[in-house]
């Protein structure tokens, strides 16, 4: 197993957190209520904090002296290896919260498994992230239930969000050669083994919310292989513009 494989694996984890954190940060000042503004901003902060640990580690694996900032701000779209779901636009609050719940439920299973990774650094980061992710899931799951079991309007909106986002979840559990190599080394879990636990947890929320689970889509997205939807480029353009215009800028 080359370090290149481990690097790609860590970048996938880092980029998924970073892009989702950036998406949530777009809500700051725009959320439907002050509490939700704080909730989304705090979740974003946790995700970006987790990203910093992961990108710093990625830079060390790569060994070319790139810092967390270099990796976040100076890579192009095709070099980002995040899951395609997290780059999908925020839409309304319901869509953001459905996306969040689907990812939170996945990260709960993933970080739980990564706590026993043979890669000690990853195990440490996962143990830290897991505690925070439990909070995120609690928040997003509660909101999916409130909106799904709310008014006709809120129910219709979150069901529509679920129907449009579900097709991106197949990527979570579609292992490629990187995932397989990492699972063989017991660095990462077998993705297929994570699926039943994820599915049960999500079903529980959907049941409580009175939402209908969409049919699985045949095509898996490949964001973690650098193949993105059209939305990531715009997100990166905004996130990276300051650093690219003023390299090394600091407060």
């Amino acid at each position: 197993m080359s370090d290149e494989t481990r690097l790609r694996y860590v970048l996938r984890l880092a980029d998924t957190s970073l892009v989702l954190g950036q998406r949530l940060a777009e809500w700051v000042g725009h959320a439907p209520a002050l509490e939700e503004d704080l909730g989304l901003a705090n979740t974003s902060l946790d995700l970006i904090g987790q990203t910093r640990f992961l990108l710093t580690y990625a830079g060390e694996i790569e060994g070319r002296g790139r810092s967390e900032d270099d990796l976040a701000y100076l890579r192009d779209q095709a070099e980002f290896l995040n899951l395609a779901l997290v780059e999908q636009p925020n839409g309304d609050f319901g869509q953001t919260i459905v996306r969040q719940m689907l990812v939170d439920a996945f990260q709960l299973k993933l970080y739980d498994a990564l706590q026993s990774s043979t890669d000690r650094r990853l195990a440490e980061i996962a143990a830290k992230a897991l505690k925070e992710t439990r909070y995120h899931f609690r928040y997003s799951a509660n909101w999916v239930i409130r909106l799904g079991d709310g008014t006709e309007e809120s129910h219709a909106r979150v069901q529509a969000a679920l129907d449009s986002l579900w097709r991106f979840t197949r990527e979570f559990f579609t292992a490629d050669e990187v995932d397989e190599a990492m699972a063989r080394k017991q660095v990462g879990p077998s993705l297929a083994q994570l699926q039943p636990g994820w599915s049960a947890r999500v079903d529980e929320v959907l049941h409580e919310a009175g939402l209908k689970r969409p049919a699985d889509a045949p095509y898996p997205w490949h964001g973690k292989r650098g193949q993105h939807s059209e939305h990531l480029g715009y997100l990166l353009a905004e996130m990276q513009s300051l650093h690219r215009a003023h390299p090394g800028a600091s407060w």
Binding site: E36, N42, L45, F53, E124, A127, K128, K131, R134
Partner: protein, 170 residues
């Protein structure tokens, strides 16, 4: 690991601990960073250099870098110019590490301290009765899992009607 298992604060290390006790948490200034349980070790390595281990409360807590700068300044002033500050991730910080004194200070300041023994995820979200720090009533309700800083949640007392912060149990 509990806070009680921290290394003994004897000899020259105890002087450093005293310096660290003067460093306040920038977001909850009634607490020192020692009260908060984020100082993980104070030790000299074979090279004769002093190492101070700090752990973040939350991964994205914006106060982390500020705290590091405050620690550097306090150590410098106390004559430990070449001290090295290490970031420790494992084991991850727990609100269980808050000192008894820290809990008392929080309560006096108007922030409900975290419930103890947070091993079970059920207890993470205030399933335990949370007492109002103002009137001590346990008739309180959660307004939001998130509050004014990453380490706090937002509650309301239904007896005295005052809103208050709970130091999250994690």
């Amino acid at each position: 690991m509990s806070v009680r298992e921290l290394p003994p604060r004897a000899g020259r290390a105890s002087e450093v601990w005293r310096v660290l006790e003067t460093v306040q948490d920038p977001e909850i200034p009634v607490l020192s960073i020692v009260d908060l349980g984020i100082v993980r070790h104070v030790r000299w390595k074979a090279d004769g250099v002093l190492y101070v281990g700090l752990t973040p409360t939350y991964s994205g807590c914006p106060a982390t870098e500020m705290i590091r700068a405050l620690v550097e300044r306090a150590l410098n002033r106390a004559g430990y110019q070449s001290a090295v500050i290490e970031e420790i991730l494992s084991p991850p910080w727990s609100s269980d590490w808050l000192s008894e004194e820290g809990r008392r200070k929080l309560s006096t300041f108007g922030i409900a301290p975290p419930a103890e023994a947070v091993g079970s995820p059920k207890r993470l979200f205030g399933s335990l009765p949370i007492a109002c720090p103002r009137c001590a009533s346990e008739e309180t309700e959660l307004i939001s899992e998130f509050g004014s800083t990453p380490c706090k949640a937002h509650y309301r007392c239904t007896a005295c009607l005052e809103p208050f912060d709970l130091f999250k149990c994690i």
